[in-house]
């Protein structure tokens, strides 16, 4: 299969995922609503934390990138759930016997998640700006959206890996919980120096902390290369690792 045909096949799979949104719009609602509810809820509940001496920004500015990553995580996990459904219903077997190579099939699945993750992000940003979230500047916004798309792809690779492993939609909670844990065990609630106990250590070494800080920088201050590159590097590392594992799962899948 040549490059042009591979791109056509990838595009066809992305279009199929987009069709799902148009035909079953209700399916996208939980992925949009959940991070928005968490954003509004946590901002109301823990908003007073920003009154602590040394807290760097109003709490809603601090939280919005967390919810953006949550939204991307849920969207990516939904790709895994959809794949599990396709496996259960036998559609995926038909895809496997097609001439499309495995990496092309994987690319089609996870790139669709990258695009879909912009839906909750757009909704969240609209809600956030409506309640007074700081405008991050064009550069800050573009970096945040790039990180959201990247994290959506990482989550889709994770979901795909689990869908191929368990071949059942009952693995859905594992797909969603894995991403939620990865996002929340970072500087999600407060800066690193404010975290206590085990979370301080976990957040320090969790690569998603760097990814989150890259997405957050525009909302709480100015955009700098020194805050951007560690996040992009961690994103690339996670993407390389999880896409390799997802591809391994796909290669091991026999029809």
């Amino acid at each position: 299969m040549g490059w042009a045909q591979s791109l056509d096949a990838t595009w066809a799979l992305i279009r199929r995922a987009a069709n799902e949104i148009l035909r079953v719009p209700g399916a996208a609602i939980p992925g949009v609503l959940a991070p928005t509810i968490f954003f509004l809820g946590l901002t109301s509940v823990f908003g007073a934390l920003s009154h602590l001496p040394g807290f760097p920004a109003p709490f809603k500015d601090w939280m919005i990138p967390v919810s953006l990553l949550q939204g991307a995580g849920f969207t990516g996990a939904a790709t895994g759930v959809n794949l599990a459904r396709d496996i259960e219903q036998g559609w995926f077997d038909r895809l496997l016997v097609s001439p499309a190579p495995r990496p092309v099939i994987l690319a089609g699945l996870v790139l669709s998640a990258a695009l879909r993750s912009l839906i909750p992000a757009t909704f969240l940003l609209a809600v956030g700006f409506a309640i007074g979230v700081n405008w991050p500047g064009l550069d800050g916004l573009l970096i945040a959206l790039l990180v959201v798309m990247g994290f959506g792809t990482v989550a889709a690779c994770w979901g795909t890996m689990l869908a191929l492993r368990y071949r059942s939609q009952s693995a859905a909670p594992l797909m969603q919980a894995g991403m939620l844990l990865l996002v929340l065990t970072t500087t999600a609630y407060a800066p690193l120096s404010f975290l206590t106990g085990w979370l301080y250590t976990v957040a320090k070494y969790n690569p998603v902390t760097q990814i989150l800080e890259a997405a957050r920088q525009g909302f709480i201050g100015s955009v700098t290369w020194s805050d951007t590159w560690p996040g992009l590097l961690c994103l690339a590392g996670l993407l390389a690792l999880l896409s390799a594992l997802a591809l391994r799962g796909m290669r091991r899948t026999a029809v």
């Binding site: 939980p30 609503l33 959940a34 509810i37 968490f38 509004l40 809820g41 946590l42 901002t43 109301s44 509940v45 823990f46 908003g47 007073a48 934390l49 009154h51 602590l52 709490f59 009952s170 909670p173 919980a177 844990l181 929340l184 065990t185 999600a188 609630y189 407060a190 404010f194 975290l195 206590t196 106990g197 085990w198 979370l199 301080y200």
Partner: protein, 260 residues
């Protein structure tokens, strides 16, 4: 209520507990998810105890424990509703309707199971709390009051879950209430003192029955048990339970009238 009714309620309650332990997807929201959130929020927002106006506590975990318990019972109510809806979808409820047992015993059996699961979840959080250094000011009597309120919470929230399950008969609809659970939690004093909440949540939390229930569970841990707080918690539970039972009763009658 006859002895037969009690036996039916006991048998259906035991079935509901066994069913939850056999299906990890029903148990996880009751125990695993609130435990993880408790661990993360305690370590992530632990500095909140230094805020002016935060009630005096030994640690943030002392304050958060009641929130985790009430989150668990809300999710137990939701899970109980999902399991009841699955029973309706699979035809198990139809078989019960054809059996010579009290119609309402079917619902009470499910609620008894949800209450038992809530009690078990309450014990789990109490043990976790004690292991990680929670100090219960009111000692053993305080812990007993906490367990009583947690168990009754399961019964009350289970009634709402059962009403939705009986009305819709679809597990996916009851599952859709999951985000609503968090809306109700965030609009109460479950995770933070009422005086320190911001925005509309601060106002709504003053009137949210969940705030009174959670404060009834929290009071024995961080302060001393008072009749006023306990009374408000019980009154709120009675209100939620009455609403749940009334709605369940209406939904069950409608289901029987429509032919199951």
């Amino acid at each position: 209520m006859t002895r037969t009714d009690l036996r039916v309620i006991g048998a259906l309650g035991a079935r509901s507990v066994k069913q939850t332990f056999r299906r990890p997807q029903l148990l996880a929201p009751i125990v695993v998810f609130p435990s993880i959130l408790l661990a993360i929020q305690t370590a992530g927002a632990g500095q909140a105890v230094n805020l002016p106006g935060f009630p005096p506590v030994n640690s943030f975990l002392d304050f958060m424990l009641a929130g985790a318990m009430i989150q668990s019972t809300l999710l137990a109510g939701n899970s109980g509703g999902i399991a009841l809806a699955v029973d309706i979808e699979m035809g198990f409820t139809d078989r019960l309707l054809a059996a010579p047992i009290s119609r309402f015993g079917m619902v009470l059996g499910r609620l008894a199971g949800t209450a038992a699961l809530s009690a078990l979840a309450g014990i789990w959080f109490l043990v976790i709390g004690l292991i990680f250094g929670v100090h219960i000011n009111e000692g053993v009597p305080g812990a007993i009051v906490m367990m009583l309120l947690v168990t009754l919470s399961g019964l009350a929230f289970g009634g709402i879950g059962a009403a939705v399950a009986l009305r819709t008969g679809r597990a996916s609809v009851v599952q859709g209430l999951f985000p609503l659970v968090f809306v109700i939690l965030f609009l109460s004093s479950a995770f933070f003192p009422q005086d320190l909440l911001t925005g509309p949540a601060a106002t709504i939390a003053q009137y949210n029955p969940l705030s009174f229930i959670v404060e009834g569970i929290r009071d024995p841990v961080i302060s001393s048990l008072t009749w006023e707080v306990f009374g408000k918690a019980i009154a709120s539970l009675v209100l939620v339970f009455a609403i749940g039972i009334a709605l369940s009763s209406m939904a069950l009658r409608r289901r029987i009238r429509m032919g199951g």
